[in-house]
Amino acid sequence: MLVLVSVTLITFDERSGTHHITSGLKSVAHDVFSPLTSGVNDILRPIGDFFAGSVNYGSLQSENQQLQATIGRLRLQLNQTAALREQVRELDSLEHLPYLGSLPIVTAQMTQFDLSNFDADITLDKGRSSGVLVGMPVVGAGGLVGQVVQASHGTAIVQLITDSRSSVGVSFGPNNQTYATATGQGPGNPLSVQYIPAQTHLHKGEFMYTNGLADGEFPPNIPVGRLHSFKATVGSGAMTVTMTPVADLDELAYVDVVQWEPKL
């Protein structure tokens, strides 16, 4: 009987017509549990951090110094590129192209990471009440992080670009004129980049950006990843290409939700 109920629930969830019922239930559960899990984390995490900190004090101090040096270098680069970014923004506005820097963002803190062993997702402490809606892109740590797939009143779940259900339209090469699709292959694995013709000239380490296509699911020109490996597949017109995300998805603490809704 319960097996039958479970199968029925799965069928309901998979059907788009009844999906909103399960989404509503999930949203309520998140709102009810969020203060509870947050409270437990507030109590238990400092205890764990205290022990971890006392054991690793020396390495943390060294890491802190390295981070300070990195912040200094990044501040310098930021100041140098400010003028260039302004020029790009002006050019994009002339072309009527959306520019990431011109879009409103909501900064959110990550509260949970990979709820299931088979998903690549994170939970944020901001939800619909802060303007975070399903479909909005999430950026952080220098690149695209993922997309909001569930939003309750006070929390949101973001599907990372490494999740096997994630698919991002990318562009690269001279003038970003070559288009492809980057698909996740699970947590910790490089993304698979598909539909690249066999004769395409590729460079290891070259950047790939969102292309703004696919009904504008993502704004264009957000760095997604860097080319990791490529090889021609015998007997195929396409190449086998992988890409590593620009953003360090294992070390996310704060991210920005871009208030951009796909034109579906």
Partner: protein, 179 residues
């Protein structure tokens, strides 16, 4: 479930769910984290038999499904399956006097549960569940539930009003046991 069983079982489920969504998520070995919800379903089957195992497995899985992006009902299906299987094992009269019985069943049941979840996930559109991280997930969930199996069975014994059992791992006779 009768009398005080339902509220006690719900309390145990709530505590395990909160632990799963907080402390357990911070424990990562090889990229995988433990799954206490699966362990609870198996423990309920061992402590309470087939019917209680099915109910607790279903409800705990359903509660977890509320927080996952995988298809709603998938964890409930797996929880029901392992809860029933553990209950059937007890009902079949398997020798439970050996101290390895509970950890062994918890570990084996967990491995089967994780693989079942991955296979069903692949059938429902996540083909990578069968390859990416499956080994680590099976390993971590199996070992942790094997270690905590005895503790989870004790919690279920308390929930089912069987806390006065003579032997911690042997447990009391449950509905469906051979007398």
């Amino acid at each position: 479930m009768r009398g005080k069983e339902a509220p006690r079982a719900l309390l145990v489920l709530l505590v395990v769910l909160v632990l799963q969504l907080t402390v357990v998520l911070d424990i990562r070995i090889g990229g995988a984290h433990p799954d206490l919800i699966l362990g609870l379903a198996i423990a309920a089957g061992l402590a309470g038999g087939t019917e209680r195992g099915a109910i607790v497995g279903f409800l705990s899985g359903l509660a977890l499904d509320l927080f996952l992006t995988t298809p709603f009902g998938l964890s409930a299906l797996v929880g029901t399956g392992v809860g029933v299987a553990a209950g059937q094992l007890v009902a079949a009269g398997v020798d439970r006097t050996n101290w390895l019985f509970v950890p062994g069943v918890a570990a084996l049941g967990s491995a089967i549960g994780v693989i079942m979840f991955a296979v069903l996930g692949a059938v429902l559109g996540q083909p990578d569940t069968l390859t990416v991280g499956l080994g680590a997930a099976v390993g971590v969930v199996t070992v942790v539930n094997g270690i905590l199996g005895y503790l989870l069975v004790r919690a279920c014994n308390w929930a089912f009003g069987q806390e006065r059992s003579g032997s911690a791992w042997q447990g009391p006779l449950v509905a469906g046991d051979r007398h």
